[in-house]
């Protein structure tokens, strides 16, 4: 089977395992978890171990900056 995460158009989805790292992100933007953009747990780009309630960090190429970082909350 093709692993879509290897496709060049699929940006890197990294799971933030460390609760502290999540806290840091939330503190940086002064938001609660639920204010983050969402991503479905069934999204094929997600790492397998992602569970609802986790936060993923997505690093994608951007037209305006070289790299743009986006955080998303995994939902069921």
């Amino acid at each position: 089977m093709v692993n879509v995460t290897d496709h060049e158009l699929v940006p890197d989805h990294e799971l933030l395992d460390d609760p502290e790292a999540v806290e840091e992100v939330l503190a940086e933007y002064n938001v609660s978890k639920t204010d983050l953009p969402r991503i479905k747990r069934t999204d094929p780009a997600l790492p397998d171990e992602a569970e609802p309630g986790d936060v993923v960090k997505i690093v994608r190429e951007s037209r305006t900056t070289d790299q743009a970082i986006v955080y998303r909350l995994v939902i069921s």
Binding site: Y29, T34, D35, P37, S62, T65, I69, I75
Partner: protein
């Protein structure tokens, strides 16, 4: 105006209303369907009861004592003879009926399921998801239960017949149960082993007494539910049939009353504010008279509002219902009346329910009831709240005036005398104010109204103006006419981007049109073929200040769409600068001064040289350079194709054309706006326009039919090129017909042929264009316009002089018309170029009738396309605006919606505004140049000073009319200055 303390809304809560509350807030019970008596007085406890508010001037409201205008009206109520269902809640009612027990009213969910749905509900609320999805899921789950988990009562399915009828579908004992049992007990004739069932066997198996079995089989005793099931099991038969039991609104109400508050919470219903039984109306609120005013017609007859008509119907039926019930009418009649009452209440709330015939007026027009007042484009929300008609606005035709600054708008004097600004009279302007009032309402800088400190508003008339002027004191307000320098908002529809509404400064002018500088046409997308525009006069200081600082045209020079200027030279301005700079012509002193006379340059620079006659001359480029900032450094490629070099504010070489000063990204304008200031850019654009107009008038610029003619030998070349193409096509067709044409990958042979023919014809037109191009001089006006980017393209020129080329419909050659041919002039299946819409003539030479017809076909498609595109894109735009309207860039750089959800972590991912950054795909941010500029500035005294003083404010908000000697009011006495 009385000063009111601003109030803040803490919150709004929505819910259902308790019938008791309806009664409490009701000013009166309404019992008679009549409105006015014979003398024209409202009937007591009728629909126009004076306690519901007053609409006739002079009458007094019996509830609050105020007169019409100040009384908002008061609700009344009708006691409904029987409960009816509120149409707005039919879906929720259905859901509740399906998910709760018919006996005990409890939600048919187990404890763990309740918890699950409570959690899901909580999660949906946290995430901002749709909570009705959870409700739907809970209902679906609860509906599965065949018996109530609490009382064990079997649950019937609920059938909903739109709009307001509910049935309970139950399995009941069939009328022919005895026959079915007997049949099942007979031995099967096809099966020899089957001996049938004897009644005693059946009695043993079911555990029912034998004589009872016999009674049942004789049809003398109807088996109870459990007995029925036992027999069914034993004999493997179905003894039931479906029965539809209609649920009357009163049944539903009783049912809902049993639902406990806790169970509603699981479904996301706040029982405190919204008990479900309140969805069934027992009391109907009667809207105040002010919401349904009656109109007196010319003949003195009163015409009632649609809502009043509907209320009359409701009261009549309600009355009849009560009378019939008291008289003990048969159940059938009562039910009919009940249904009728339900119909009237339904259509009173919503008259566009599918499946229900709309209630109609006597004339046959459907009534406009409550829901219709709110819905749609002309409804309360979109028509009266989001958009409404306003005062202090004017609309008229626009026309150009190149003498105005781009910040200005020419306002007709008759508009200026009608629209006013409020002048608060103080110690310092009392003389001025008196002068305005003294001038009266008709002379131009006059006044229309004054307001005394006691709040009394007086109209200034020709008669009383002199007298009134004496009385004006400090503390008065004078509504004076618009004068030069006032700031107004100017708008052209469709307002597709923010530059469609900009602030301008008023210049009062004679005649009837709004005048604007031609350089502001691009942002408004305006032309002068009859376009009209709107003007709004601002009415308070905050608005005026904001408009001046944020909305003035010069602040909108850069477009946030692509980060470059949207205001700049257009059309003739570009031809003008092209003529002035392309060949760098020489001018004598007189000519040079004439070119610059409309700018602020009043002294010529050092002459560029001395010609053979010994007179000094100035070149076009150095005249243009006079408009540039002294230290401007810039290099770019012009649209003409040469390199433009600007050093130290001097145009050294290159042509100034669209890419330099044009709207939509003219480099010089763009750089001046970003590096210097908006004010400098405004001055520059104004002056470029003025200089260009002088230049184009100096050279003279016109275009005629002879400008597109090419010499006969060139025409021959064009014909030859086209003939070659024809020959090539002939060959192609021959190979195709011989079946030898090889198809391109992914194409059929037919498609390949079409493509190749199109290609050949395209090439033929291009070569015709090239030939024509070679024979045009550089001074040909059409060439000048096309090269400079002023108007038109080389393609247009090709079509005028060389060959119009292939006409297309839907991107293909023209294939429609008759069977197998486009016109009856051709053989069927003729594949040649001319039979499918190739126009070999030029516009100048003229088209043959057949060519003209094909051309019209292609032209029609273009027109249809634009018409379809505008309507489609309009709706798309509306949807986009609604979807994005609540997004906002926050101070931390993130973009969020109103609920605080992050949409972008950094605005545009780079956190920059396009209009503040000078970069594009082929042009990175010019770090070096910015660093250079910062460094050079650092070591200059001025810069250091500025740094110590803090950031210097750019003086953007100074009116072009500020300064001494410009007070028009005082100047009225002066007749004329010519």
């Amino acid at each position: 105006m009385s000063m009111q303390t601003p109030k803040q809304l803490g919150g709004i809560s929505f819910g259902l209303m308790d019938p008791e509350t309806y009664r409490d807030m009701s000013a009166t019970k309404v019992i008679t369907a009549d409105t006015y008596d014979d003398d024209g007085y409202p009937i007591d406890m009728g629909l126009m009861d004076p306690r519901l508010g007053v609409i006739d001037p002079g009458l007094e409201c019996r509830t609050c004592g105020s007169h019409s205008g100040s009384c908002n009206g008061h609700f009344g109520h009708i006691e409904l003879a029987a409960p009816v269902i509120h149409v707005g809640f039919t879906k929720l009612i259905r859901r509740l009926l399906r998910s709760t027990c018919r006996e005990c009213g409890r939600l048919a969910l187990e404890e763990h399921e309740r918890e699950e749905f409570s959690d899901r509900y909580e999660r949906a609320r946290e995430l901002g998801d749709d909570q009705t999805d959870v409700l739907k899921a809970a209902v679906r789950q609860a509906r599965k239960a065949s018996t109530c988990p609490f009382c064990g009562e079997p649950q019937a399915d609920i059938k909903h017949e739109k709009p307001t009828t509910y049935y309970e579908v139950q399995d009941v004992l069939s009328g022919e149960y005895s026959e079915r049992i007997a049949e099942a007990m007979q031995p099967d004739p096809d099966d020899e082993d089957d001996t049938g069932t004897t009644p005693s066997e059946l009695a043993d198996e079911t555990g029912i007494a034998l004589d009872r079995i016999n009674d049942i089989m004789a049809g003398e005793f109807r088996p109870r539910d459990e007995d029925r099931r036992a027999i069914e099991r034993a004999l493997d038969v179905d003894l039931t049939e479906e029965d539809m039991n209609k649920l009357m609104p009163s049944d539903v109400r009783d049912w809902f009353e049993d639902i406990p508050d806790g169970d509603l919470e699981v479904l996301g219903i706040d029982a405190e504010n919204s008990r479900p039984e309140w969805m069934i109306l027992t009391v109907l609120p009667v809207p105040p008279v002010t919401t349904r005013p009656s109109i007196t017609l010319d003949n003195g007859q009163r015409s009632e509002d649609d809502l009043t008509h509907k209320l009359v119907d409701i009261i009549r039926i309600n009355q009849r219902f009560m009378e019939n019930r008291e008289a003990g009418a048969p159940q059938l009649i009562i039910e009919d009346l009940w249904e009728l009452l339900q119909y009237h209440v339904t259509t009173f709330i919503d008259n566009e329910i599918s499946g229900t015939p709309p209630a109609r007026h006597r004339s046959g027009r459907p009534l406009k009831t409550l829901s219709q007042r709110l819905k749609g484009k002309e409804g309360r929300f979109r028509g009266s709240l989001s958009g409404k008609r306003v005062n202090f606005s004017a609309r008229t035709v626009i026309s150009p005036d190149p003498t105005l600054s781009l910040n200005e708008v020419g306002v007709p004097d008759r508009v200026a005398t009608e629209m006013t600004q409020t002048l608060n009279v103080t110690e310092r302007n009392v003389e001025e104010a008196r002068q305005y009032v003294h001038n009266g309402p008709e002379a131009h800088p006059g006044a229309n109204y004054v307001r005394r400190p006691d709040g009394r508003r007086l109209k200034v008339t020709e008669k009383n103006c002199e007298e009134l002027a004496e009385k004006v004191e400090e503390g008065w307000e004078v509504n004076r006419h618009l004068i030069d320098g006032d700031i107004v908002i100017f708008n052209r529809q469709p307002s597709l981007h923010r530059m469609s509404i900009m602030a301008h400064e008023v210049v009062v002018m004679p005649y009837k049109t709004f005048r604007l500088n031609t350089t502001v046409c691009p942002p408004y997308n305006a032309d002068f073929d009859g376009d009209e525009m709107n003007m709004h006069a601002l009415q308070n200081e905050e608005a005026r200040a904001e408009a001046r600082v944020l909305m003035r045209v010069q602040e909108q020079i850069l477009s946030p769409r692509f980060g470059e200027n949207i205001i700049g030279a257009i059309q003739d301005h570009i031809s003008g600068t092209y003529l002035l700079t392309h060949t760098n012509p020489e001018f004598t002193e007189t000519q040079a001064l004439d070119l610059l006379r409309a700018t602020r340059v009043d002294e010529l620079p050092e002459p560029d040289g001395i010609d053979d006659d010994g007179t000094e001359y100035w070149t076009g480029r150095s005249l243009f350079s006079e408009l540039l900032p002294d230290d401007l450094e810039l290099e770019f490629t012009s649209s003409t194709g040469d390199d433009v070099v600007i050093e130290n504010g001097q145009l050294v070489e290159g042509t100034i054309d669209e890419d330099a000063v044009g709207a939509f990204g003219g480099d010089v304008v763009d750089t001046i706006t970003k590096v210097y200031s908006e004010t400098r850019a405004r001055v520059f654009i104004n002056e470029v326009a003025a200089l260009a107009m002088r230049a184009i008038m100096h050279f003279g610029f016109s275009i005629g039919i002879d400008d597109e003619s090419i010499p006969p030998e060139a025409e021959e070349q064009v014909d030859e090129a086209i003939d070659n193409a024809y020959d090539h096509i002939e060959e192609l067709i021959e190979t195709y017909e011989a079946g030898e044409l090889e198809s391109l990958p992914g194409r059929t042979v037919d498609e390949t042929l079409e493509m190749k023919i199109m290609q050949t014809l395209g090439k033929a037109r291009d070569s015709a264009g090239e030939i024509a191009d070679q024979h045009f001089g550089d001074d040909n006006p059409a060439v000048v316009m096309a090269r400079s980017g002023a108007r038109g393209s080389m393609l247009n020129l090709t079509q005028m002089a060389g060959c119009v080329g292939q006409q297309a419909v839907r991107g293909e050659r023209i294939n429609r018309g008759y069977e197998d041919r486009t016109l009856s002039h051709y053989q069927p299946n003729d594949l040649s170029a001319e039979a499918h819409g190739f126009v070999e003539n030029s516009y100048r030479a003229g088209l043959t009738p057949r060519e003209f017809f094909f051309h019209a076909m292609g032209g029609r498609e273009g027109l249809v396309d634009t018409a379809v595109r505008t309507s489609k894109s309009g709706y798309l735009q509306r949807r986009l605006i609604n979807a994005l309207s609540e997004l906002e860039a926050q101070y931390d750089g993130s973009v969020r919606d109103t609920s605080g959800t992050v949409v972008q972590f950094e605005f545009g991912e780079d956190g920059t505004s396009p209009i503040k950054v000078s970069s594009s795909e082929d042009n990175d941010i010019e770090v070096d140049r910015i660093a250079d500029r910062v460094l050079t500035a650092e070591f200059e005294d001025d810069a250091e000073k500025e740094e110590f003083l803090g950031r210097k404010q750019r003086p953007t908000n100074i009116s072009e009319h500020a300064g001494p000697g410009l007070n028009k009011a005082q100047g009225l006495g002066v007749d004329s200055d010519d």
